[in-house]
């Protein structure tokens, strides 16, 4: 049974909007020109490749369903557990739960347990149920086994990559011979830095293929307190981060755009009211506001258990609500920017000319002002994304973020913090969360920089420095 959670629906809506905009913009040179400039930026395209990998995982993780477990009198009975297409793909990882902590690639549990065998009790490190379970002598065979499996997977990865590269070269040959086209791509002579993108893709494949191949026999990032595979948790966290980062802006944009443009364009007492509103909102600590609202929401959810069929729905509603709260507190910055811009545009002569034609205010706002502030909106949305992902981690750590049952970077860090004090230290859950979040936020930041450079006319400078005037005679 297909389940569409609230956030799923909104994620699909957003993807649809982005696709529609892409089609619309590709026909209009003034809209597609800055994107072409993004396409020419090396760091921008490298980070875009990484982001696309994250986004595909997030999207796969947004197709939810409830598997059928039995048929009772012709009526199917569905599991109460909501799974996603991604869960289905990495089923082994999801099901390979140990009893408790185990370190990465280990075949033994992390702590001694008392085990009775043949009537003799002994305290040993027991073998794991899944991690390296098919090895007879892990001490000797484990490392060669890992190397062998990674090598095979890496070769597979290279194969797939070569296939993709060949398709790309073929599509770009355009009259040239295949080797010529290939060399022009690999020497970076193309407009879009395909060589950098292919290089990034190769690096991703060389890491991802072995990691997935190994994950069915080992716990690549170990297991956590209740024995869940940390690699699986980190991958699942991606969706939560993306949802927070994107849906929040969806909530924030209408406020920021509507109020900002109204304040700037109409001015007068409306401007005063809106300014006071965001100045006031800005002076309340956001965490306080968020904590209060989330706790209120939690009380509501707890008081109405009948509203939710599954755990996932409860958790999802809280996630959505968190997005809304974050959106409500973060629109002020963009709103202030847009007010200033609208104030400037209001005096532009093309707006006066439109007024001289008797064009209505609404049309002036939608046809003249809005398109001319969209670059600011876009830049700030892309910049905001990474800070929202980080905000989620902080809020969940504090305990006012997502539902504890929802897997996110914040909940991972929260559950890992106590283990940092253990001796020997349990470092892997935190490290996994850190690595994934770092990769995602860094690539989002780099991409945002590329977008800003392409859209902001002021940052465009000479393509390269000119050498000094003349050598000294």
């Amino acid at each position: 049974m297909v389940v569409i959670l609230w956030t799923d629906g909104l994620v699909f809506l957003l993807s649809g909007l982005i696709l529609a905009f892409a089609v619309y913009a590709s026909r209009r040179p003034h809209l597609s020109l800055p994107w072409r400039r993004v396409g020419q930026s090396r760091s921008g395209m490298i980070s875009a490749v990484i982001l696309i990998c994250f986004v595909s995982i997030g999207l796969l993780d947004s197709f939810h369903f409830r598997p059928q477990i039995a048929i009772d009198k012709g009526k199917p009975i569905y599991s109460v557990e909501v799974l996603s297409a991604f869960d289905f793909l990495v089923e082994t990882m999801r099901n390979h739960t140990e009893r408790t902590y185990s370190s990465p690639f280990s075949a033994y549990a992390f702590s001694r347990e008392t085990v009775a065998s043949d009537g003799v009790q002994s305290r040993i490190y027991p073998r794991l149920r899944y991690g390296g379970a098919d090895l007879a002598d892990p001490g000797r065979e484990r490392i060669p086994d890992i190397l062998k499996r990674s090598l095979v997977a890496a070769l597979e990865g290279i194969g797939v990559w070569a296939l993709l590269a060949a398709i790309l070269v073929f599509r770009h040959s355009g009259g040239k011979s295949f080797p010529d086209a290939a060399s022009s791509i690999f020497r970076g002579e193309t407009e879009i830095p395909w060589n950098a993108m292919l290089g990034t893709l190769l690096a991703i494949f060389l890491i991802a293929f072995p990691a997935f191949a190994l994950s069915s026999h080992y716990h690549v990032f170990g297991t956590d307190k209740v024995g869940q595979d940390v690699f699986y948790l980190a991958l699942k966290s991606i969706r939560t981060g993306l949802v927070i980062g994107t849906l929040t802006t969806l909530v924030m944009l209408p406020f920021a755009i509507f109020l900002g443009i109204m304040a700037g364009y109409l001015g007068g007492w409306l401007d005063d009211v809106i300014q006071y509103l965001y100045t006031m909102l800005n002076s309340i600590p956001a965490v306080l506001l968020i904590a209060a609202s989330v706790l209120m929401m939690q009380v509501y959810i707890d008081a109405h258990p009948a509203l939710f069929e599954t755990m996932a729905e409860r958790a999802d509603l809280r996630l959505l609500f968190l997005c809304m709260i974050l959106g409500m507190t973060s629109w002020t910055g963009l709103c202030r920017l847009l007010r200033g811009e609208a104030l400037k545009l209001r005096e532009m002569e093309y707006i006066l000319a439109a007024q001289a034609f008797g064009v209505s205010r609404l049309r002036i706002v939608t046809r003249h002002i809005l398109p001319n502030v969209m670059h600011i909106v876009l830049i700030s949305v892309v910049m905001e994304f990474s800070s929202l992902v980080l905000a989620e981690a902080v809020l969940s750590y504090v305990g006012v973020g997502v539902d504890p049952s929802m897997i996110s970077f914040g909940t991972m860090i929260n559950s890992a913090r106590l283990e940092m004090a253990r001796e020997p230290m349990v470092w892997w859950p935190l490290a996994a969360a850190f690595v994934f979040m770092f990769a995602m936020v860094l690539s989002a930041n780099l991409f945002a920089d590329a977008v800003r450079d392409a859209f902001d006319p002021r940052t465009r400078v000479a393509s390269r420095r000119i050498p000094p005037v003349k050598d000294e005679a």
Binding site: H30, Y350, Q355, F357, G358, A462, V469, E472
Partner: protein
């Protein structure tokens, strides 16, 4: 040995991978004590030449060839440190925009002191004395007190004086003046030019004057070089140049100047625009715009020829040939002028626009700026009324208030027999069909995100789709643009083309009156001629009325039927163009007309003293009395009533009132 000598200078700029040949083989020399003018339209590489001399090119710029000699030694071989001893000390520079050339957070004393500290090494007392002396030299009143002021406390003209004082602080041998008066009003321009002339006489320095204004060249220069598309095409002494310009381009520049003697005929204009310098050239760069071009021009770049009096790069002077033969149009294309006394289309009575000055925490109204203060005039059908005045006198505000883009404080605007002030949005919409506006800046007046078609459709909401298509094509043809222009975006057009689009947009609703707010002041002379011709033809074809707001007197002389002179929010003189321009009555009009630099050369003139006072705090009595050479006691107490001088000539000045024996100058 020349003071400053450029030898085959080539400066290239790099722009998105394109090479822009901003200066392409320029040679000239400036002698001691002379004024050498570099004349050309925008985009010809004049400023890049001056920045190359100072070695202050932008990051993207680079001198690729040639050399610059100052007193015989090469500037390009100097290290940066040595160059710093040249800048300011040997070669000073003043820029176009005085507001942007001074640091707003430094006192004037400190900014001038900076130059002195670098080049003069004076002790504290001598330094202060020198600063005051410099400010006094450039004609700043109360120099001791003013030295302590910040730039924002100075007016535009005063800022330019401070800039000149700074440039002169270390007594340079050469002063580069890069469009020094372009951003200033004519009256202030006349003051600054006068100042430069007297300083030159006193200090004996050479001036390299960079300008696009033939009038300024005529008043200032001793020698002239005409620059076109990165090259110098003609050099001559001032007298030879103005007596007989040799190059076809120079001749066209003269011919496209509007003026009184050209009323009633179309202006001669140069086809097209200055070619982009990122292009490869073969042959003469002016060939494609030249009426006299022949095959050789398109193939071989001309070398220097002597035309008798001037050196010129044109094939028409090769082997002692006489140059282009002017097939002087015997009968200039006549412009049919509807001379019937048309119906009054627009009449404005006692219109005022006051802006409140708000102060304090609760934004209490502390006073008013009377931007427009009781203005009355009327425009007849098919006529042009020119509204003239310095910047800040309220011309633009008045234009906007007539179109109800600003709410007037009081007074009435009567269009076609109907009162349009205080109308609601809906009823106003109807009136607006007949009233349209064209703005000064063609870059700000078109929405960059809309295609030309969408821009033009904006006002045509009521029409059917079929009509609209045909109408758009008709309009584009009317303003001289091709059909496919409608699917392009504004950034693909040049300034002149954009102004045509703006005109087409205004015409789209079939208006009867168009307010033209300085429509040509952002354009080059040759493009200005194209636009003026277009406006004139439209008036003849459609019987349009224009309210032409401008500060350019020669445009007024060329175009206007009636003139109204505005000073600090009030009209001080109005009447038929012939009356006002040939026999100006008000001292302000006289000063304004006298200040216009004329290509006929230097003439002694009645100059307006000082700057325009602030409209927030106008002087008591007649607003002009502080600057007026004929100021009388009653001028300080009472604003003069209008006095009729002729059938339509009216002036507000005590010189002509009944209570005094008016002398009329």
């Amino acid at each position: 040995m020349s003071l400053l000598e450029l030898e085959n200078l080539r400066t290239f700029l790099e722009n998105n991978g394109n090479i822009v040949r901003a200066v392409d083989g320029v040679s000239f020399s400036v002698e001691k004590g002379e004024t050498f003018a570099l004349l050309g339209e925008s985009g010809c590489g004049k400023s890049m030449t001056s920045l190359s001399v100072m070695r202050l090119l932008p990051d993207a710029g680079r001198i690729v060839d040639g050399d610059i000699f100052f007193q015989g030694s090469s500037l390009l071989s100097l290290p940066e440190k040595g160059m710093r001893d040249i800048r300011g000390k040997k070669i000073g520079i003043i820029f176009q925009e005085p507001g942007l050339s001074l640091n707003p957070v430094l006192r004037v004393r400190d900014q001038i002191g900076e130059v002195l500290d670098r080049h003069a090494h004076l002790d504290r007392e001598a330094r202060n004395k020198r600063i005051v002396e410099l400010l006094d030299q450039v004609g700043i009143p109360d120099p001791e007190l003013r030295a302590e002021d910040y730039p924002f406390q100075f007016s535009g003209g005063m800022k330019q004086r401070v800039m000149i004082a700074m440039a002169l602080a270390a007594e340079p041998d050469v002063l580069i003046a890069d469009e020094p008066t372009t951003a200033l009003d004519v009256t202030i321009q006349a003051q600054i030019l006068e100042l430069l002339r007297s300083l030159q006489k006193k200090l004996g320095m050479a001036i390299l004057l960079i300008t696009h204004d033939l009038g300024v060249v005529s008043e200032m220069a001793s020698r002239v070089a005409v620059m076109y598309a990165g090259e110098i095409v003609e050099t001559a002494s001032r007298d030879a140049f103005f007596a007989r310009p040799a190059h076809p381009y120079s001749r066209k520049l003269f011919a496209s100047l509007p003026g009184r003697e050209k009323r009633g005929e179309m202006l001669d204009m140069i086809r097209g625009v200055v070619p982009p310098l990122s292009r490869e050239f073969s042959g003469c760069r002016f060939a494609e715009r030249c009426d006299h071009a022949f095959d050789l021009c398109r193939e071989v770049s001309p070398i220097w020829h002597d035309s008798g009096g001037s050196l010129v790069r044109c094939h028409l002077y090769a082997d002692g040939r006489p140059g282009p033969v002017e097939e002087r149009k015997v009968v200039a294309e006549p412009v049919p002028r509807p001379d019937m006394p048309g119906e009054i289309l627009l009449s404005v009575r006692d219109l005022s626009v006051h802006f409140p000055i708000r102060k304090g925490l609760f934004k209490r109204v502390a006073g008013h700026v009377a931007a427009v203060d009781g203005v009355s005039f009327s425009i007849a059908e098919g006529k042009t009324l020119a509204l003239v005045g310095e910047s800040g006198c309220g011309k633009t505000t008045l234009g906007k208030a007539i179109l109800q883009l600003l709410a007037p404080t009081s007074g009435s605007v009567n269009y076609d027999g109907k009162e349009i002030t205080g109308l609601g949005r809906r009823s106003l919409k109807k009136a607006r069909q007949g009233l349209q506006i064209i703005f000064q800046d063609p870059y700000a007046s078109l929405n960059p995100r809309m295609r030309i078609r969408e821009i033009m459709e904006e006002g045509m909401q009521g029409m059917g789709a079929g009509d609209r298509n045909a109408h758009i094509l008709e309009l584009l043809e009317e303003v001289g643009l091709s059909e496919d222009a409608q699917y392009r975006y504004p950034h693909e057009f040049s300034g002149g083309q954009r102004q045509r689009i703006a005109i087409a947009r205004a015409l789209a609703v079939n208006p009867r009156l168009i307010v033209c707010d300085e429509p040509t002041s952002a354009l080059d002379v040759s493009v200005q001629a194209q636009i003026l011709n277009l406006l004139k033809r439209l008036q003849a074809d459609h019987g349009l009325s224009f309210l032409f707001i401008t500060h350019n007197i020669s445009v007024v002389e060329y175009l206007a039927h009636e003139v109204a002179v505005m000073y600090l929010g009030r009209i001080v003189e109005k009447g038929r163009a012939e009356d006002v321009l040939t026999a100006p009555a008000h001292p302000y009009t006289q000063a304004l007309l006298a200040a216009v630099p004329s290509i006929a050369g230097r003439t002694p003139r009645a100059m307006a003293r000082f700057d325009l006072p602030s409209p927030a705090d106008p002087p008591a009595g007649c607003h002009y009395h502080l600057r007026c050479p004929h100021s009388m006691p009653q001028c300080e107490t009472r604003y003069p009533e209008p006095t009729r001088l002729g059938e339509s000539h009216e002036v507000r000045c005590h010189l002509y009132g009944n209570d005094t024996a008016g002398t009329g100058d």
